[in-house]
Symmetry: C2
Subunit: 386 residues, 2 copies
């Protein structure tokens, strides 16, 4: 059995950690932000442009790629890395969240979820086992287990039932993953030998349920663990509390991945609570809507105040967009509906997120994370330079 | 009076020429293809991506930029080059063609054209003089005179009247350009000192009208001349005849620009008839529709036959898209509606056009243009490798 997985905590500062995660396609320096490439593409960018931004790892989506172009097609073409021309690590989300948020006429039972494709209405299903198989064919470095995501707000009983089912699915997912990894499942190639599987902790905003979920999931022996079901509408302070509470119980020698979070401040605050990995659509989606993150808070590029503004979006930024273009030009592109507006804004926002993670890592290494955290908050609350 | 304009014919092969055009922002090797950046952006690409494709000159549009963001705004920000972050030569089309094809409720009289903006219905006008002033503010290297473009087909009388008016407008345009260049027009800065102005020959598909248009336009002493009013629906063989007929009468020591043409075969055929400069939306527009030009003819990437095709779009191509991506991946991006499909296809098509122009130039230099021309036709008629 191939295994190139390893995680080393290089150093810590309070609960914040600086680590190094070894995966089949390369090493990820943590804390890490993973740009979201749902359909085997970071929306708005070419793979060349993504590579120039230098993320250690990106994320793709099991649900979307299963629907189109199909995981068997991708496996035939050599797996997701060859298919999209990306050589570094990839994490695939299991599709759980998408089934619960995108698919129509959804039916959940103990077996899994039956649903209609949001593309063509075709009747499909995802189960803990099929999510393992799809991700094996895709050949990501990290496969996520298939979980049930309750809505927010939901009653204790609803969240408890989803958490308990997620635990039962976790056992089936892990067992099936080990069978696939051992080559015991016909017609399911492991496109990336050495693929690892992360478990997902659920339990909503109920500490007691989080505790039971952690205990049950960790007992199954996944390579690492994610915290799911947060940033789904609950207040930020409750999210932070849940992150701190849950992260503290996860194994110290495994990376901790907070799914779907968050704003730049969330990244800083959740690293402070022990998180190592993040993904979020915020930098890419908001870029397409004309919101640019800067070290002094976000700006909305379409506003009239930028019409004749010769400054780059963030004068303190070294990204390709800020090195070349003014707010005035970016505003023009956005209002004209030019696709390059989305590309240039996405380059900037992802650079900002990745650069923030690097700065966090350096601050942890030099033991100055708490002063970094305070300064980041102060700068972020300031108005953009004008 | 600043003047960095010069044109040298390096060598010729039949009517085909290999030349060098010196402009304020740099040198253009001819024959040259100018990617179309209507709204101060090549649609689908960032300026970084355009620069990597290495065109000597790009085109932008007077009509569109006058409407949005406005030429006074661009002048305030230092002119078009600074505004868009592009350092090499730019040619601005005068807006004549766009007024006649895009604007609504158009009224043409001897003064110029009054029309309603296709964006917001605002009542605007363009005249030979205002087109000069707008382009002076934009600060392109080459400004085009404002012409009247008759539809096709049109009667001899209609085309004659438009050609005669274009000649009268040409005189006004040239006189006004010289006044602006001499600094005699208040509030009209020449954002690019050394800007030059090209005249436009009209006359439809009537050789006699073309002859009169050439004589009258050349008499006005523009820095160079363009052939307008072709590739507007007339049969290709008639277009080629008109190009040969008209180009032969234009001054040999000035570059000849064929406006809005054309397919890869058109480029080869019109260079053979004495043309030095081209622009066309075909490579960029068709890229967005999923058509990729290859050395063996165009392919339509959405076709099912490419679903599992691991080959690059054109196995003989060295562009960033072909070096990295398969037809299968490009088809997936196109069908998924990913913006990067447009970017990758545009990169490929523009690379193909620019590379074809380079190959034509080399063939002329080595005296092998006629065999190049034959081989290009033969390869282009072949089916793409599968």
């Amino acid at each position: 059995m191939t295994s190139s997985f390893a995680f080393d905590v290089v150093c810590g500062d309070g609960a914040a950690r600086r680590g190094r995660l070894r995966l089949p396609h390369g090493t990820v320096e943590t804390p890490a932000f993973m740009p979201v490439g749902t359909r085997a593409a970071i929306r708005g960018l070419t793979v060349d442009q993504v590579e120039a931004l230098d993320p250690d790892i990106i994320l793709a989506n099991t649900y979307h790629l299963h629907l189109r172009p199909g995981d068997t097609l991708i496996a035939e073409l050599g797996g997701l890395h060859t298919f999209m021309g990306w050589t570094r690590p990839i994490l695939t989300d299991s599709g759980g969240y998408q089934v619960f948020s995108l698919a129509t006429r959804r039916r959940v039972d103990e077996t899994g979820v039956t649903f209609r494709s949001h593309l063509d209405g075709q009747l499909l299903s995802l189960t803990p086992e099929s999510a393992v198989e799809i991700q094996a064919r895709l050949g990501s470095d990290i496969a996520m287990m298939f979980d049930e995501c309750p809505p927010w707000p939901a009653s204790f009983e609803t969240v408890e039932a989803a958490m308990e089912r997620t635990l039962r699915w976790a056992r089936r997912a892990r067992e099936h993953f080990e069978r696939v990894r051992a080559g015991q499942v016909p017609d399911v190639p492991m496109s990336t030998p050495g693929q690892v599987q992360f478990g997902i902790v659920q339990g909503g905003t109920f500490p007691e349920l989080r505790d039971r979920s952690v205990a049950g999931t960790v007992a199954l022996g996944f390579e690492a663990y994610a915290i799911g079901g947060l940033s789904v509408g609950e207040p930020t302070d409750i999210m932070y509390e849940m992150v701190a509470h849950t992260a503290a119980q996860l194994p110290v020698d495994r990376p901790r991945y907070l799914m779907g979070v968050g704003t730049p401040l969330d990244l800083v605050e959740c690293v402070a609570r022990g998180i190592d990995m993040f993904d979020c659509v915020l930098p890419t989606r908001n870029a397409r809507n004309g919101q640019l993150f800067t070290r002094r808070g976000p700006i909305v590029i379409k506003h009239a105040q930028y019409a004749r503004d010769p400054l780059p979006p963030d004068p303190e930024c070294g990204c390709p967009t800020c090195r070349r273009h003014s707010r005035a030009y970016l505003r023009h592109l956005f209002l004209a509906g030019e696709m390059s507006a989305a590309a240039l804004n996405t380059v900037h926002n992802l650079y900002f997120y990745l650069d923030t993670m690097k700065a966090i890592g350096k601050a942890i290494e030099s033991g100055s994370f708490s002063s970094f955290r305070r300064q980041f908050h102060e700068a972020y609350a300031r108005r953009p330079a004008e």
